[in-house]
Subunit: 297 residues, 2 copies
């Protein structure tokens, strides 16, 4: 297998993790946690989402968080935005980078964004344009790339179509999401084989959830294809609220443990990361899925 | 990456899993669980260990379990034995296959078996000889192949030396153990690269613990090297008793999910396996580490 020399891990716990947790973390707790993450060596942290608080009450304090955190030079702080109003918040919060999102499957897009895929394009096009002209870098998420909770299998042509639109809008990086954590390594390589014929490898990131225990292996399979950017959540935050042990995003600690021990440079200090993980675990008040956080020391 | 067409999973939960659990499972519970596992499509089940009950009280009922389970034709039922007395129990219990064990690192062998490596060889040689003459197949475990809790790094020459002795004794399969779950995929490929020059690939199995979240990825790396036999425990049983969430063996459900979804034939029905996993989880009385067992259905 082929291993790259360097991998970039983008921490999405404060956004993708927290938005799926039942426990409301105080603004002070969020800021404290993000400040700890900024000391671990991570260079990219997605700190919040500027969505309507009615949809995601857990992140209703997005502006306070963006304004309250300590900005460490060299770190890119990202916020998720669904539309122009969200972008206004992100600009007011002065993040470095904004992320837009949509789904590869029609039903998930409709349920998640309340619009058809075709109706989502113009909304995001405007957001991307304004974000770029505001001097921000822009990242795009495509959800349900490896499977949809409503439709099951998702045709690769749907992924390509949505991805092409996002790149045409001007996004600089595309994060391919296994939203419900159903992907397997063979599928990862098959999907990448097709997408890498159309999109530059340095602009693709992978975003795995660990619902079925395959996320770390999927990262390994993607590394072997030359992918060097992965999203992860401290502690593996973001599990399904209806099943206490269910896993959310792949745990940053587990990814860093593997990569660092393989001699792949991540720049991230595992001990410091475990410190930030212990902090958020205590705040959330349940054992988080990260294996390294639970390891018998 | 290279995927094989067929993989054999050897279930070790009733032995390696239970021996590390704090909860004592009744003999009836063990028999019920093993009988359920026999209906999942698994063809190899390690049912118990004939060790001195002073060492492992959890498995003090090994003979009753061996005699009490329903034998399904086509399934190989294995028992671990440390010495001649253990073998007598296994023969009385009429298992199909016996497993002997020792460590690649001197300190772990001394602490686990209370003998030096050199003093362990004659004991196992006698056991293997008698087991073979009793018509049993024999499997050997080498522990601490990828790291030792006392010595840290384990020299590959130590692994080779112990493995050669075990093969010379007549074992038909060698299971290489990452006893403390510290291995990474690069190390797995490096170790296998060396071992595969000396030992036939079809006689090697890998035995991963998921302490640091790398076990499924390690299996993927080993698959890519042509290994087709892996040990696993239902639920990921066997966590460290001092850390409730700590993971033991890699969870059989998670391995089967990945392999089945990759189109690799395991012969194992995931639904039935999850049923057996739910049963043992209820008996043990805590959330087990298996991601699939915890998945939000």
């Amino acid at each position: 297998m082929n291993w790259p020399a360097h991998v970039t891990i983008k921490e999405v716990g404060p956004r993708d993790g927290l938005q799926n947790e039942q426990t409301f973390l105080s603004t002070e707790g969020k800021i404290n946690w993000i400040n700890q993450l900024s000391q671990t060596g991570l260079k990219h942290i997605e700190i919040t989402s500027f969505v309507n608080p009615k949809w995601i009450p857990a992140l209703a304090d997005s502006l306070e968080v963006a304004k309250g955190i300590e900005r460490v030079p060299g770190i890119t702080y990202t916020a998720l935005v669904p539309n122009r109003r969200g972008l206004e918040g992100a600009l007011e919060g002065n993040v470095d980078d904004v992320a837009v999102f949509m789904s590869a499957s029609e039903t998930h897009n409709q349920k998640n964004i309340n619009k058809s895929i075709d109706d989502t394009f113009p909304v995001l096009r405007e957001v991307v344009k304004e974000a770029l002209s505001g001097g921000k870098s822009v990242r795009g998420y495509v959800s349900t790339v490896f499977g949809c909770p409503y439709e099951g299998h998702v045709a690769i042509d749907q992924v390509i179509r949505v991805s092409e639109h996002l790149f045409e809008m001007g996004i600089q990086e595309l994060s391919l999401g296994d939203t419900i954590g159903v992907a397997n390594p063979k599928q990862v390589q098959e999907v990448l084989n097709i997408l890498l014929k159309r999109f530059p490898i340095e602009k693709l990131a992978l975003h795995f959830h660990d619902t079925h225990g395959t996320a770390v292996a999927n990262i390994l399979a993607a590394l072997d294809m030359g992918i060097t950017t992965f999203d992860a959540s401290t502690g593996g935050l973001g599990g399904c609220p209806y099943a206490p042990g269910a896993s959310g995003n792949v745990a940053t600690e587990d990814v860093i443990y593997m990569l660092n021990n393989m001699g792949i440079d991540t720049g991230v200090n595992l001990e410091k990361l475990l410190g930030a993980g212990s902090f958020i675990q205590k705040k959330i008040g349940r054992s988080l899925p990260s294996r390294n956080l639970q390891a018998c020391n």
